[in-house]
């Protein structure tokens, strides 16, 4: 039974409980209020940010790279394709701990010749070390058997660029390589992740964008471990362009074969379209190694010293030497300084004044009485010394400029060198001296300051072959691109068409005449070829006491000082369809070394044309 006292005590007790509860509740209220504010901030104020954050968490963009565009010849022959290579790698952070597995790999799986790879610094990208690229069938089979004892080593299949003809098209197609710092700065990581291969030279570089196509994107939902759950959306990649080359496989092969790893270059083009039919620079390299689709070394040991990566056909600057004589002769006719029958007495040397410096011709005793035709056929230096001295440098350079000397041809390759066409201003600016008549005299035989690339020489010669018309030289003939039609680059106006014929006839006689410098090419009933030999001096022969021949005997002891052999030609006349320029460095004789290559190319090309 409860009493009043009980009630009073209860009352007091409850009172105290209530007030003390109030105190505790006050403290908890701080937590409650701050909690409510925080929850409102999260769900109302910053909701958008957190939604984005949540999506960023779970959605990743996986780029879809289209397979690189193919490069083929007109007949469909594959020149550059993509193959799946199987490579072995190990994660960089696991490398230290798995040395025994790597050794096991070398012992049990990889071929003997891979031992060399071990010595190379491993290429690191994306936290991976590549242990072996492009496994052979045999290695792959061994790996499948052994893989359980090497759990840290993994196999990756990757599409890589492969050139079935290996070295043959190296200087045209070029190669790919890992993206570098400079390229990194200008390209987005979405298009080009850090381990992507990008065109470095050749067509691979100049058509990089078109060959690569546009990267697609796959939006993937992933969990916290990066496991793909499902695809949310997909933007398909744009199909890359396939390129069709203008080149002729047979000519390309012959040119490579004839140059036989000597330093030199061959350019052959169709003067009526500008389409390049052969472009070979020797020595060459194997782009597949650099593309990662083959293992080994890209260059042969013998050619290591000879700059095999240097594209001599478009970047090599050589004195045009006697191959310039037809142009100078044409200018003389056009300027009416000479006629077909103007005679110069060639005594073996030329002097501006009595007692002045002797400009010696290559033939010690001279060619005797020389007219224009004979001057070209026998390559009389004295004739052109005299003609050049009368023409003056201003007329010579402005005339040669119209043929493309001193210009780049604008071919679709990078690293084309601009040939040098000296003028008075050029010499003042680059040499810091005034122009002397002696300089002009040297230009008359294509020596001195003037220099040409094999490609430019071919383009210039195509004007003579084509009665003045010069077409833009091209490697790609592709109806996917808008610029596949022949493009007229420029047209040299020859005032009197007869002058052109005189020059052409003289050039034909270089081969057909018994006294022609390239008469060794002559064949009864063979194709008519117009050509001009050249022998580019590397060291100028200035000793006035020795004969040219005597002095050169001393010079040629050093192989690298020997003259370059040149031959510039076209055929068949009267309807030429191929201009060929051949340069063999230190080859000495244009007629014996360079000319036969050109002849073979022109002949083979006629067979090809008749077949198709």
């Amino acid at each position: 039974m409860r009493t009043i006292q009980d009630l009073r005590r209860d009352e007091k007790d409850t009172q105290s409980l209530r007030s003390r509860s109030g105190v505790i509740f006050f403290f908890l209220l701080i937590l409650i209020i701050s909690g409510v504010f925080k929850i409102l901030q999260l769900t109302v104020l910053d909701r958008v940010n957190y939604e984005a954050e949540s999506d960023k968490n779970r959605i990743i963009n996986i780029p879809i790279y289209p397979a690189r565009g193919l490069i083929t010849l007109e007949d469909g022959t594959l020149i550059a394709e993509n193959i799946v290579t199987k490579d072995l790698y190990i994660k960089t952070k696991l490398y230290e701990a798995s040395i025994d597995q790597v050794e096991h790999l070398h012992d049990k799986v990889l071929d003997e010749n891979r031992k060399l790879d071990q010595l190379q610094v491993p290429i690191q990208d994306e936290g991976k070390i590549w242990l072996a690229r492009n496994l052979s069938e045999q290695e792959l089979a061994k790996y499948e058997v052994q893989k359980n004892s090497m759990p840290n080593i993994q196999l990756e299949a990757k599409l890589r660029r492969y050139l079935p003809h290996k070295n043959l098209f190296s200087h045209v197609i070029g190669h790919l390589g890992l993206i570098n710092m400079d390229e990194r700065l200008s390209l987005s990581r979405a298009e080009y992740p850090d381990d992507s291969f990008i065109g470095k030279v050749g067509l691979e570089k100049s058509y990089e964008k078109k060959l690569r196509g546009k990267t697609g994107i796959s939006l993937m939902e992933v969990d916290v471990y990066g496991n793909k759950i499902r695809e949310i959306n997909r933007v398909s990649p744009d199909k890359p362009f396939n390129l069709t080359l203008t080149l002729d496989l047979r000519l390309q092969k012959i040119a490579q074969e004839e140059l036989a790893n000597r330093r030199g270059a061959v350019v052959a083009l169709d003067p009526k379209t500008g389409f390049i039919k052969a472009l070979v620079s020797s020595p060459d390299y194997n782009p597949n190694i650099l593309n990662g689709s083959e293992s080994g070394y890209p260059v042969s040991e013998s050619s290591m010293e000879d700059s095999p990566f240097f594209n001599r056909a478009i970047s090599g600057l050589y004195p045009p030497a006697s191959t310039i004589k037809p142009f100078i002769g044409l200018l003389g006719l056009e300027e009416e300084l000479i006629t077909e029958s103007t005679i110069v007495e060639d005594k073996g040397f030329f002097q501006l004044r009595e007692e002045g410096r002797k400009y010696r011709g290559w033939k010690e005793d001279g060619h005797g009485r020389v007219d224009l035709k004979k001057a070209i056929v026998e390559s009389s230096d004295v004739y052109f010394y005299e003609l050049a001295s009368k023409l003056t440098i201003d007329r010579i350079s402005s005339f040669l400029l119209r043929f493309g000397f001193g210009e780049i041809s604008g071919i679709d390759l990078i690293n084309e060198s601009k040939s040098i066409l000296p003028t008075r201003n050029w010499k003042l600016g680059n040499i810091g001296e005034a122009w002397f008549v002696g300089d002009t005299i040297n230009i008359g035989i294509g020596q001195g300051y003037i220099s040409s690339t094999p490609l430019q020489l071919a383009v210039s010669l195509s004007a003579i072959a084509n009665k003045g018309k010069i077409f833009q030289p091209k490697l790609i003939k592709n109806n996917q691109l808008d610029d596949y039609e022949p493009d007229l680059l420029m047209e040299v106006q020859i005032e009197n068409p007869r002058h052109g014929n005189i020059i052409e006839k003289s050039m034909i006689s270089v081969i057909n005449s018994w006294n022609g410098t390239a008469h060794n090419l002559y064949e009864e009933g063979g194709i008519t070829i117009a050509g001009k030999t050249g022998t580019a001096q590397i060291k100028s022969l200035t000793d006035q006491d020795l004969t040219v021949r005597e002095e050169y005997e001393g010079v040629r002891k050093d192989i690298n000082n020997r003259d370059h052999a040149l031959f510039a030609s076209y055929g068949p006349v009267p309807d030429p369809n191929l201009v060929v320029v051949v340069i063999v460095e230190n080859g000495e004789s244009g007629s014996a070394v360079a000319a036969p290559i050109a002849k073979r190319l022109i002949e083979e090309y006629q067979i090809n044309i008749n077949e198709s």
Binding site: S21, I24, I32, K38, T43, Y50, S54, V224
Partner: protein, 374 residues
């Protein structure tokens, strides 16, 4: 009418028109319905947050069921009949805390878990509720007024438990254990002069305690409060749970549609961080509903407590009410990132059999304070 004492129970007995078996069995239908609502919701959330693991939900359901039976059983006992057991259960809790330090379950870096074969539990989960109940039982073991030394004994008891948890090491939980011990002591009427004396002593002693702490103990305290040091990766966890709640917005992403939780971005999403799953899938609306139901539970606890007839019952209810509220607040504050991470589950919802059963036992004590309406 008559000269009978107006306090005579039989006269003031309200008119009972009908006998309701439910209100007899559950004693407080509102409280029990709210509890069951939260428990069922908790099971549903567990299903979502555990990667839709049915077996985990089944396991939890068994604990819920056992807990509810025990709750109803206790609610029909007279408090006097179990007061002594409650008081002495302190020693059992103490024993477990000591035991866990020497015999922790394997596979953890800390000594928090006890492994008894078919399941594992944390003694600190139990002590969080055993400690305040035993303190309440001790303080009101007799009808007489509470003596001065009783305050000291109970405070000491709380300190010992708190220290043992600190040694596990688990600074956060040790603070919570101490708080849940000190709440009933304060509510029981801890005299303010004693509080002043405690604070004075603390001011004098704390430098000595600090210097007597070993280096690793100091380090432990410092890292706990230093937000720059993040040894457990708590920062990432909090960022993920905030992202989950924030991206849930007002209506949420829908049940089983939370990307943060379904794709495992939320750590411990089925236990301590289950609140962020609720936020992500049901949004502000769902959180508010949950809080309302929690609010009803707390309101009923205090309602029962303040109208209970013995001081033991009143104190037990109010203490448990505050501790329940405190656990909710600490868990939610931790998940939304306004306090450091502590191992406190969301009451009645987070996965964990011990926590559920102990909480339901405490609700049994609360319900027993309500007189049956006959």
């Amino acid at each position: 009418m008559s000269n009978r004492n107006p306090l005579d129970y039989s006269i003031n007995k309200p008119l009972v028109t009908s006998f309701n078996p439910f209100s007899y069995l559950f004693k407080d239908i509102t409280l029990v319905s709210a509890l069951i609502a939260v428990l069922v919701f908790g099971l549903a959330m567990l299903y979502s947050s555990s990667g839709q693991s049915f077996s985990m939900v089944m396991r939890q359901s068994i604990y819920v069921f056992v807990g509810l039976i025990m709750m109803i059983f206790i609610s029909h006992l007279k408090p006097d009949s179990y007061k002594n057991i409650l008081m002495h259960s302190y020693w059992m809790g103490l024993l477990l805390l000591i035991y866990v330090l020497f015999n922790p379950a394997e596979g953890y870096t800390t000594s928090r878990w006890i492994d008894i074969g078919f399941f594992q539990f944390q003694p600190s989960e139990i002590i969080r509720l055993i400690l305040p109940l035993s303190i309440v039982a001790y303080l009101h073991r007799k009808e007489s007024k509470i003596r001065l030394e009783d305050w000291l004994y109970t405070t000491l008891a709380a300190l010992i438990c708190s220290y043992l948890v600190f040694e596990q090491p688990d600074l956060g939980t040790s603070i919570i254990v101490f708080t849940s011990g000190i709440i009933p002591i304060y509510l029981a009427g801890l005299p303010y002069r004693v509080i002043a004396a405690y604070l004075g002593m603390l001011a004098i002693v704390s430098p000595f305690i600090w210097s007597s702490l070993l280096d690793y103990q100091k380090q432990r305290v410092l890292t706990y409060f230093d937000s720059n040091v993040d040894p457990l990766g708590d920062g990432w966890n909090i960022a993920q749970s905030q992202t989950a709640i924030g991206s849930g917005g007002f209506f949420g992403k829908g049940y089983l549609q939370g990307t943060q939780s379904q794709l495992n971005f939320i750590p411990e999403s089925h236990s301590d961080f289950i609140f962020s799953v609720i936020g992500e899938e049901f949004g502000l609306l769902g959180i508010s509903c949950l809080f309302i139901v929690y609010g009803i539970i707390i309101w009923r606890i205090f309602k029962i407590g303040l109208s209970a007839q013995s001081p033991f019952e009143r104190l037990a209810c109010c203490s448990l009410g505050f501790i329940f509220l405190l656990f909710i607040l600490i868990n939610v504050s931790m998940v939304i990132g306004i306090i450091p991470v502590v191992g406190v589950p969301l009451p009645l919802i987070s996965q964990g059999g011990t926590s559920i059963v102990v909480h339901l036992l405490a609700f049994g004590v609360i319900l027993s304070a309500k007189r049956p309406q006959l």
